[in-house]
């Protein structure tokens, strides 16, 4: 089985976000980049499937610039066999989906996994777009995945519960926990990641359908009003008559 895992490189989840250039651009100075947390679940499940099913290969794919190579190497250290980077700024979901679909058409994967959404732009669109571009089913957010022969058994989270389903490969899946637990690379993985192939190729279709204009930070909250623990019940009155939220 051939698995493609698409990873985004996003600012570490503890990052403070700020902007430069008259709020037109993200301030990348001081930001630590990581594998998107949801993509990290997808990668972990792919590596588990590789361990279970003989002959399985895992390719990691990122659309991004050379600064991402160190993050991509981490995916190799976690257990991907090789990696591809499409050398372009990932400008919008449509652009990124086109790059992934193009690689998938050339290489033919049985399973294309990625996170349910990126934690920077939170679009949650790329998996569906890739599925449509390849004309194969796409499902998200997938929290359980088993493969037996050509058949995938999976569970999708729905608001207030789960939906179980069955589908034939090939499939595109947007993943989230608890599909697998995040994997921390071991020493052997880190050593081997340095020599695993990382192919850099140029983007094909450069079309985008959105244009970023400006960013803004939310207004800070006005501050916390403290209520003494022995008068806790007065909170209810404040919520009713001051905040007027209940």
């Amino acid at each position: 089985m051939k698995i493609l895992v698409c990873i985004t490189c996003v600012p570490d989840t503890t990052s403070k976000i700020s902007f430069i250039n008259d709020n037109a651009e993200l301030n990348k100075a001081g930001l630590q980049y990581i594998i998107g947390p949801y993509d990290d679940y997808a990668l972990a499940r792919a590596v588990e499937l590789k361990e279970q099913i003989p002959g399985t290969t895992v390719t990691a794919l990122n659309v991004g610039l050379a600064v991402n190579d160190q993050v991509i190497r981490k995916a190799l250290a976690i257990g991907a066999d090789d990696a591809i980077r499409i050398d372009a700024e990932p400008t919008d979901s449509y652009f990124v989906a086109n790059q992934i679909a193009e690689i998938a058409k050339q290489n033919g994967y049985d399973l294309i996994l990625m996170g349910r959404e990126s934690t920077d732009y939170n679009g949650g669109q790329v998996h569906g777009m890739v599925g449509q571009m390849l004309n194969i089913p796409s499902l998200s957010p997938v929290m359980k995945l088993e493969i037996s022969g050509n058949v995938a058994t999976l569970a999708r989270e729905i608001e207030g519960g789960k939906e179980y389903m069955e589908a034939n490969l090939p499939l595109v899946l947007g993943c989230q926990e608890p599909i697998a637990e995040w994997k921390i690379p071991n020493m052997k993985g880190i050593m081997s990641s340095r020599t695993k192939p990382l192919l850099v190729i140029s983007p094909t279709n450069l079309e985008t359908l959105t244009k970023s204009e400006l960013y803004e930070l939310p207004a800070a909250r006005s501050g916390c009003k403290f209520i003494a623990a022995d008068q806790a019940e007065t909170l209810i009155d404040l919520l009713r008559n001051e905040a007027k939220v209940i």
Binding site: P11, T13, T14, I17, F19, P37, Y94, A97, E117, T119, D120, Y121, N122, G123, Q125, H127, G128, M129, G131, Q132, S138, L139, S140, M143, R156, I158, E159, G160, G161, K162, E163, Y164, M165, Q176, E177, L209, T210, K211, S212, E213, Y215, E216, L217, P218, R221, S222, C224, K225, F226, I227, A228, A229, A232, E233, L235, D237, L239, A243, V245, I246
Partner: protein, 320 residues
């Protein structure tokens, strides 16, 4: 030109956020001198539910009474939505941001080559093109984006467009999308769903518990407070990782993003990943025994103390 609003049905009811999307679509239609049409797929929603769409400003509903659409099959739904857009000559699709809505909209976006904006917070600015304000970085920032394609899809974030319903009604027109066998290639085998419970992403009031509650056996106070308020329950990530609470209650950057009127956090420290998922709540109450807990910095009201002393007092005050 017209606008189609995709309606999502959960637990036999139209979701509250879908009614917000109806209100958004109706306003957008006024702004753009066009008409808005709502689209309901499957037989899950009752006629009374569908009639309520009129209360939020849309007077025409397309209803596909095809029982194959009673469950949210992503491929089939996306083809049905595309056919509704074509039938109505629509250039804009509006829906309430949700995991099902996103999965469908992405496929529609490719079929219609539409610009797509997720987490839209306001009506668009049409003074120079079509610009929308959206939440990015899981609520840590906002972004203004111009949608450059002729066709557009807007995923409206919950709470961005609340409105007071009117008494107006809607006319329902039947709609029969052409669906192929291949649209149902994914077989939905079973649905496990809590019924009669308030859905966290939809809730106006949320009571959430963290590791400070020490174990699932102590959740009674959280459930009682939620019940007294008629609120939904949430939790922090370690709580769902430890299986103290079901996974769909996990709130935060890697879980459910909520924007209720009131979010009460009990025994949650306020890690930045948790805050990201709750920052658009209107009012935040924090109850924590540690006065230094970072959550207090993001709160409107705070009580420093032991949750097991404080919650019973709140429950009593609510009942009294």
């Amino acid at each position: 030109m017209s606008i189609v609003v995709f309606i999502e049905v959960a637990d036999k009811e139209i979701r509250g956020s879908s009614f917000e999307a109806v209100g958004y679509g109706a306003e957008l239609a006024k702004m753009t001198n066009s008409t808005a049409v709502a689209l309901v797929l499957g037989n899950e929603a009752s006629a009374e539910q569908i009639a309520k769409i009129g209360n939020y400003g849309i007077s025409k509903v397309l209803h596909a009474q095809d029982s194959r659409l009673d469950v949210g099959n992503i491929q089939a739904y996306s083809h049905a939505v595309v056919q509704a857009l074509d039938k109505e000559n629509a250039t804009i699709l509006v829906y309430a941001k949700s995991s099902l809505g996103d999965a469908i909209a992405a496929r529609v976006a490719v079929q219609k080559k539409a610009s797509l904006a997720a987490n839209v917070l306001e009506l668009p600015d049409l003074s120079d093109g079509f610009a929308v304000k959206k939440a990015v970085f899981t609520g840590k920032a906002f972004q203004y984006v111009t949608l450059t394609s002729e066709n557009k899809i807007l995923a409206v974030k919950k709470g961005a467009f609340a409105m007071t319903p009117s008494q107006d009604s809607a006319n329902v027109e039947s709609f029969s999308p052409q669906l192929a066998e291949s649209d149902f290639a994914v077989k939905i085998t079973k649905t496990d769903k809590v019924t009669g419970e308030l859905l966290l992403p939809e809730a106006d009031l949320v009571v959430s518990g963290g590791r400070g509650l020490k174990g699932p056996e102590n959740w009674g106070v959280i459930l009682d407070l939620a019940k007294a308020l008629n609120a939904a329950t949430g939790c922090s990530k370690p709580v769902s990782d430890l299986d103290w609470r079901p996974h769909h209650e996990h709130v935060g950057q890697t879980g459910v993003k909520v924007s209720p009127n009131l979010y009460i956090a009990v025994g949650i420290s306020g890690a930045i990943q948790h805050l990201a998922g709750v920052s658009s709540s209107k009012c935040i109450v924090v109850i924590n025994k540690d006065a230094e807990a970072p959550f207090f910095k993001a709160a409107d009201y705070g009580i420093v103390g032991d949750a097991f002393d404080i919650l019973p007092k709140l429950i009593k005050a609510l009942k009294g």
